[in-house]
Assembly symmetry: C2
Homo-oligomer: 246 residues x 2
């Protein structure tokens, strides 16, 4: 009942000093780090994300972490239940079809806007990305998934439409999360050649073919899905340490 502070340390504590005005948006860094960690599966779907632990990992208070978690929740990468904290999102199997349909619809828009309108620089940039995807083959699965998703986000950004890019990005990352949950390992590698086909069709201005390839591409990805339940609890701060820099 009378749990209020007893006379503990009533004297004036030393004033806060020294901090070199760190007032930069520390939250953005935490957000980015958590995002990468989730996308690359370092943090597995369903894993708990306690505010204290994360804050301690990054040396900030819970306030900052809270903001980052809320933002991730708004994007669907994190689930928050009232008074029960945050977890890495674990999209339901029934949702998988929905989100892929949405993504396909949005990417059709992207194709429609880009077909025959890519600059040589953009084409070069896309091909370069595909090269990187090839180079990553045989490497870690999460890294490949990330690159594959980034290809689609890159396309969306080339439309010049900020909202379109945001919607496609959100849907694509959520699809990636779903894939890591339900798809069989190494199932994503097959996509690189299709990416090159899409580039070629766009370059040629063949919108119909580009749409067809893209649709087939996305359908193929989702149809490869298999059930594969997630693992559980490792050491959180160890994981986050690797995502703290950059």
């Amino acid at each position: 009942m009378t749990g209020k502070r007893t006379g503990a340390a009533a004297r004036i504590v030393r004033l806060p000093r020294g901090r070199p005005a760190a007032a930069g948006d520390r939250g953005a860094a935490i957000y980015a780090a958590l995002r990468r960690a989730i996308i690359e599966q370092a943090l597995k779907p369903g894993e708990k994300l306690p505010e204290d632990a994360i804050g301690a990992s990054f040396g900030v208070s819970r306030t900052i972490v809270r903001n980052a978690l809320h933002q991730l929740a708004a994007e669907g990468l994190v689930e928050m239940r009232r008074n029960r904290g945050a977890r890495v999102a674990r999209p339901r199997w029934e949702e998988a079809g929905d989100i892929f349909d949405i993504r396909r619809a949005l990417e059709r828009l992207v194709i429609a806007r880009l077909a025959g309108r890519l600059t040589p620089e953009q084409v070069a940039r896309l091909k370069e990305h595909a090269d990187r995807e090839d180079a990553a083959r045989g490497g870690s699965e999460p890294h490949s998934v990330r690159l594959a998703t980034e290809f689609h986000v890159l396309l969306a950004e080339m439309t010049g439409s900020e909202v379109l890019a945001r919607y496609v990005g959100e849907a694509a990352w959520r699809c990636g999360l779903t894939l890591t949950l339900y798809s069989r390992p190494h199932s994503s590698e097959c996509g690189v050649h299709e990416h090159r086909e899409i580039i070629a069709a766009l370059e040629a201005g063949d919108e119909a073919r580009a749409v067809a390839v893209m649709d087939g591409h996305l359908s193929a990805v989702v149809s490869r899905a298999l059930i594969d339940p997630p693992g559980r609890s490792r050491d959180l701060s160890e994981i986050l340490r690797r995502y703290a820099q950059e």
Copy 2:
């Protein structure tokens, strides 16, 4: 590293806060109120949304308001610039076409899922909504816009897909905001009959016609757009008082 304490540590006497700590999610109420106020144009695009003033209006601290504002920002109804606070979003004219394209793509998905699959109860519910839209004719323009948008959200919810409903809702409300910015007054009334056509086509299972009507409907709405710059500063707490209840 963070073991510093600020001067407030010496405070012992607790504040005579009478309110029993407001256990409910007060933030949700603020969010909803602000949302309605924005959508019905009681808060005009570009209008400043200071945390203190809003908090004072609702009798909560800035923290709660902050959360609500962040959520609204994530949905695109509010713009937040670092250290400069929140304003009602003012979508750019160039974005208008983008967001309407996105909305159209998403609503095609909705139609495809509902055509020929509506239960009699759902049809009745939709017709009832159209009746309300008719009844609102001649009333306030913002109210009509809200009802018109809610018709589309209602359709999306009937698909049973939570994500699809969320995406459609977000896009639709953002379109509504854009319309209030750029469209000529009373331009939205024309939509009610088209809504009834959509219901009929869906009931008949005629997906192609439903899509055609929906596309035409959305295109018509956007093509009626005209430039009409927003007004400026009135009394914030007066406005919010009307949106506090419910």
